[in-house]
Amino acid sequence: MLNTNDILETIQMIQDENLDIRTITMGISLLDCADSDIDKACDKIYDKVCRYAQNLVKTGEDIETEYGIPIINKRISVTPVAMIAAACPDKNPVKFAHALDRAAKQVGVNFLGGYSALVHKGFGPGDYALIQSIPQALAETDLVCSSVNIGSTKAGINMDAVAKMGQIVRECAELTADNNCFGAAKLVVFCNAPEDNPFMAGAFHGVGEPDCVINVGVSGPGVVRAALAKAPDANITEVADIVKRTAFKITRMGQLVAQEASRRLCVPFGIVDLSLAPTPAVGDSVAHILEEMGLESCGAHGTTACLALLNDAVKKGGVMASSHVGGLSGAFIPVSEDAGMIDAARCGALSITKLEAMTAVCSVGLDMIAIPGDTPAEIISAILADEAAIGMVNSKTTAIRLIPAIGKKPGEEMEFGGLFGSSPIMDVNRYSPAKFISRGGRIPAPLQSLKN
């Protein structure tokens, strides 16, 4: 018989500490859907996505009921659409976004990612047209998410793409200004984008992946915080150990769900992404874990050190719990989606500069940050370049999801609702990087030796 305390601990994690499976994401390759006739290609895409994912939502719900563990999102990621769009270069790729949106609605998933382009070394056929169409695609569809990879440790940073993406981020916000600039919340700019990430908005199905695959993202910042709260006087070695043990348990649950979903859908299991993904719900915050470690507020000096410890311990604990770990894996620090981050930004404890430092040690990057609506495109580009440089030099993924809050100023608030939360508008440094951004070209790939 199972141990009573173990059973009660699991129940408590789910009932009181917001433990959940954040997402089951089905990756679907669209490479066989390319066609020089864009309408034919769209039909093939719609049919393939609907065929492969027809049972995804139902299976997720069945597992949720049987195992008693909430599964919040069921999602789809597809091959970067720029590769499919390359076959019909004269047509507006927005048609693909509409086809994907229809398919996502048909099968009932929460989001579909992959309206993407990988341009870290340069623009291939289809890439530029797709990037150009992102604002329109995100404004006209509901469920499609987009991402663009602008740099990598092996290739360097494509500064032409950086300059372009600054404008695109702004346009996404402008075209959806009457809807909380939500277009920009569905666009992620990456350096070192992972090919098997199940989390939105940056999920896409990489070219090295099989035809179809199941990836699962776990969550549970509340569980880690609760575990730390039981050891208020532990030293930091013990704190790291508690995080590891907790991450192990959380990830085991992800592994179980991933295997079960893979078995029921007859689709190979890809990876478990062992991330601490916060939500705006009270008790589901990464910032509160850092505060539990002994900071008065997230953003205080010491935050980067605490986050480094947390991120590393989550990985160490999770790696042994799963047969395949991948995706972003670590601690997310999205400002608007984390109750503790929102409070810290409101009271002035947390600034963009501190967040940038934190991204050097967290699993992702500058995420869900609302910036003033009058921020020029070149400043956005420069923020992208800074963040990509951190990722490139440290051989890690960095992602940027900024929301220029059109018509709003620092101190005002942005309300996205649901899992996207709300955020105070955070001010940016106004000195101009225009000349640097207008130069174009590429930042060469960094040296991999002489590390200091």
Partner: protein, 89 residues
Amino acid sequence: MRAVITVIGKDTVGILAGVSNICVNRKVNIIEVTQSIMQDMFAMIMMVDISGSDVPFTTLSEDLREFGEKSALSVHIMHEDIFNSMHRI
């Protein structure tokens, strides 16, 4: 398949009888029961075999949830694998 039913809440008359009754009606075999009182909270854990059950898992889970709501208890049924995978290596 085996599942774990947990009942947590204030101790009252008829909790065990109520849950067992649902099990009997749905042809669910009770394998083992443990119960304890922690402070004034009642916690009962029941290991059951549902392979002979004549209704889908969702119906059983719904029955138990309704019983829980009526009696102001938190009642859950979960596949035993969730506990095995989390607490055993």
